[in-house]
Symmetry: C2
Subunit: 285 residues, 2 copies
Amino acid sequence: MKLNVIFTLGALLASFSTLAHESETSSEWRALDANKTVLLTLPHGKVIIELAPQFSPKHVEQFIKLTKAGHYDGNKFYRVIDGFVAQGGPEDGSRADKLVPTLKMEGDFTTDEQWQFTKIQDNDLFAEQTGFKDGFALAHNPSEKKAWLTHCPGVIAMARGNTPDSASSHFYIINGQAPRYLDRIMTIFGRVVYGMNNVQAISRTAVIEGETPIDKKDHTPMISMQMMNDVPKDQQINIEVKNTEHPKFSEMITNRKKREAAFFYKKPPPVLDVCQTPVLSRIVK
Amino acid sequence: MKLNVIFTLGALLASFSTLAHESETSSEWRALDANKTVLLTLPHGKVIIELAPQFSPKHVEQFIKLTKAGHYDGNKFYRVIDGFVAQGGPEDGSRADKLVPTLKMEGDFTTDEQWQFTKIQDNDLFAEQTGFKDGFALAHNPSEKKAWLTHCPGVIAMARGNTPDSASSHFYIINGQAPRYLDRIMTIFGRVVYGMNNVQAISRTAVIEGETPIDKKDHTPMISMQMMNDVPKDQQINIEVKNTEHPKFSEMITNRKKREAAFFYKKPPPVLDVCQTPVLSRIVK
């Protein structure tokens, strides 16, 4: 009996040691899977998007299918509102538009007690908890056992009509301060990991009162939308993003709350806005 | 005595009636004062800024003086970080840079029980209350009797060194998700009321690992910085902004919390992020 306990303890220690070892050796950076990475080419630059099939499988499946079929090539950003969204898709009512099946909402998902994420904050305005998982900003209400991707700048989500399950292929990218009120009622299915400046440079189609609207022909087109894996090898851009499950990321979070640099002559409140906490990218040659 | 009470009540009713009358006749829109409005001309478009002398008098005074002296004409945006700031000013260590006196912090101000603002939210992550005054987003901690302008997208603030009173003429404009941790430790002295898209199109000078940095000669220049009143009359742009003290603005706030449109098939939490609550502008011919 005693031996057995020691053995069990030994096994436990061994398993801790394995975990610690994995943490140490798994990289601080995570390479994106080219099969889940999108290259959007705009007239003024490139935008790279990481898709999130682990959170919104059906939306990602349809988006990849459409992308591979060339559905988005030549589409335009027809609704671009400063500080809000750049929305694009095929011409309204066109054949390409009508052929796409509608999707069931994937705005949130159910969690259980085993579910884990890198928590950064309790009780922001919109959720009981916020944090990151697989590089994506998300929120969690343990009281409801629900979690969801949050509408931070750079997320891509499907547009829809008034009914929940009416999204098809029109999408938007958030270009300004996080409109978190859209959380859970829209399906986010990825995020921009490179070229957010190019997203923000998409021509605004909505102008203020008294200003001349831009002509429809000047709406920013999508030159092409491609899965990175379908791009010729020598033109592929290999992106890595910070591994939000790595201890170094948690360390960054802790330091960011402390603000110990001399510049902070008075300390701000030790809190973090999930949408203002960067998950860095880098290009790997 | 009874008469006196009635008289007092009458005076009170008369004063309520005057207040109501003023609310009804004062406009839903407020015209900007051209003496407190700045026109920043960039190679790719115009940016209009409303200054806030009521909150940061010394910073505004110095900024106006420098603007009128042509201090900023030809300056460059030399530190432009996606999702954070576009910072500009004279060349480091240049004569123009050295001549400017430093400013004492005006990061927050003291309130008393008479102090009023259009409150929109209690207990956001960074403050006890948030709301608007004179068109500017601000936060208020009644427990401290302190209020301050908040770092929302589009605010302009003076950059500084590590010591609090070291700002002079270098400034930044917030181009991404609100970095509220800078509240109170930096002096905000105005906000962009037109051309935020042009601010967001300023060339980024900070690039990600693996990317080629842009050449210094390609940093976006300020073609000119002018007080609107000094612009030839026929080239002036007259801007009006929503009057945040008008009942219609409060009504907008209330509706925005309720989200009664059919589109909101599930209601989001009835809260507002002060930096995601628009104060609209319009151009008046």
